[in-house]
Symmetry: C2
Subunit: 306 residues, 2 copies
């Protein structure tokens, strides 16, 4: 219910990097005649690296994802719904329908989306997605990632890493590889049980509260953050329109790296630096309080004004 998927369309497993790799291969197998991949030049690093690595190994071309891009020969586009720096939400519905018309598949990265905003894979036409559970799903450090494949594609899932957890009769041992008919086809090896339990708790908590409530709190937190940003005269590249932003905010400052280090070391504020000049503050709705937003931004402001 967190991303609007049906029961049996999501598997929690491995890492976002691995799931991206596998997802691109699943998409490529669905478009065997196309030799072009597309990803934005400023996409999150691991997404770009995975796409470029696959293109290199298979002799495919990577086309930069830019406005006006021609998708008619593109097999798969890898794209984040929410910009990892600014928190800007892209127009998923419009882009998916553009891609679909051109015959291209989109593998969406929902790492900053799931658990942060309301999202509906089916309403938006999303067929393939991956995401992490350790950010807005509160699964804790390095909790496993997940893969979503819309049900209509399950019979066509072909992925490169054939592991025994995808095998229909896993413990028959002497059998040839014959995978499950469902989402379990994307599984590989033995799952990391401890991390999986933490992810399960985070996901269950989000489901219990419900994404409508969580997203509303998220919007309120970021709206408050924008007011505080203005109050202290800070500069942000995060959209003003609450419909167009996720649950983190970006403060621009040339000394971003130093500021983030100072916040962590001296002020117990854990922010991210996103070069060249962004201080990123993640506001996870289930755990971030309004007073935390005030405190964090006040300290950042004091550090900036020296």
């Amino acid at each position: 219910s967190i991303i609007g998927s049906l029961s049996g369309e999501v598997a929690v497993h491995d890492s976002t990097t691995l799931n991206l790799y596998q997802g691109v291969h699943i998409a490529l197998a669905l478009r065997p005649d196309r030799k072009v991949l597309a990803v934005a030049a400023d996409e999150f690093p691991t997404d770009r690296y995975v796409v470029e690595g696959i293109a290199h190994d298979l002799g495919l071309t990577v086309r930069p994802l830019e406005p006006g891009i021609d998708l008619h020969d593109v097999a798969v586009v890898v794209r984040s719904v929410i910009d990892y720096r600014t928190a800007e939400i892209c127009d998923v519905k419009a882009f998916t329908s553009l891609a679909t018309e051109a015959g291209a598949l989109v593998l969406w990265d929902l790492s900053h989306t799931a658990g942060a905003i309301e999202f509906d894979v089916h309403a938006l036409g999303v067929e393939l997605a991956v995401g992490c559970t350790y950010k807005f799903l509160n699964g804790g450090p390095g909790a496993p990632a997940w893969t979503y494949v819309s049900e209509n594609l399950h019979s066509q899932i072909q992925q490169p890493i054939k592991g025994w957890f995808a095998q229909k009769d896993q413990f028959a041992m002497e059998m040839p590889f014959a995978p499950h008919d469902d989402i379990r086809r994307v599984l590989l090896g033995t799952p990391h049980i401890l991390s999986l339990i933490a992810a399960e708790e985070g996901i269950a908590l989000s489901e219990r509260v419900g994404m409508k409530q969580i997203a509303a709190k998220g919007q309120a937190l970021t709206a408050f953050a924008m007011q505080v940003v203005d109050h202290f005269g800070l500069t942000t590249s995060t959209p003003r329109d609450p419909q167009r932003r996720g649950c983190h905010i970006a403060i621009s400052h040339p000394r971003a790296k130093e500021l983030v280090a100072d916040l962590a070391t001296h002020h117990k504020v854990l922010a991210d630096v996103r070069p060249p000049d962004i201080v990123r503050l993640g506001l996870s709705p289930l755990t971030t309080r309004f007073t935390d937003v005030w405190d964090g931004l006040q300290r950042l402001s004091h550090l900036i004004s020296g």
Copy 2:
């Protein structure tokens, strides 16, 4: 020190299945002119599936690993040091030197080896290996796996899944993929911290005790188990020679599946069934007591005799 590797030759990450997949690709990149992979028809399932999956995707041939196999056109052999059913240890040194003479690489699976017997990758000429930490390294359920690459190959590591944890300047964000010069090249995405901590504890404990002591206890446990097996008139396919067996024993019985289920449900004895007819008892030296061996085999014997 557990497998005789040098500092910086092992990375703990992901799962055995993933690490096998990556290891085969690393080996293939080192033998670009060869089009044959080799694996035994009765090798552990995930090892076979991974090899067959890669061969299928890249248009390579899989040759069954059998005595007398010709390795002169083989790029990489995937082979377990210890048979997952019988615990028989293969002659690693002889096979590695045979493969090396033929120009083939061997990717060894040490899942049943590391933490069970004394092993020395350098003395044996082993250049590539993977293994789990959840069996004899006591990392707990689904603890992450590991990859060993001998130092002389580090500059040549090329693997298919380019993730941001392999990136030299991981948080520079706007950079092209430029991996570390060392074993960190095999890393992918964000590690599973909770599972990693458990693995770390298990590995540290084994290092503290030392493999000489652990292996000696393991041999004593299996020697005692063989005596008990004989006492109850059970049938085993595990070698009698302590130099030729690892730390588990295999009892053959046509009702193996039913017996293992009964042991777990009614007798708190957790064994594995390995079809068609093996009841496998894992004797992890650090945690298994001699009395556990007696109790487990006694209960199994009573179940068999009805």
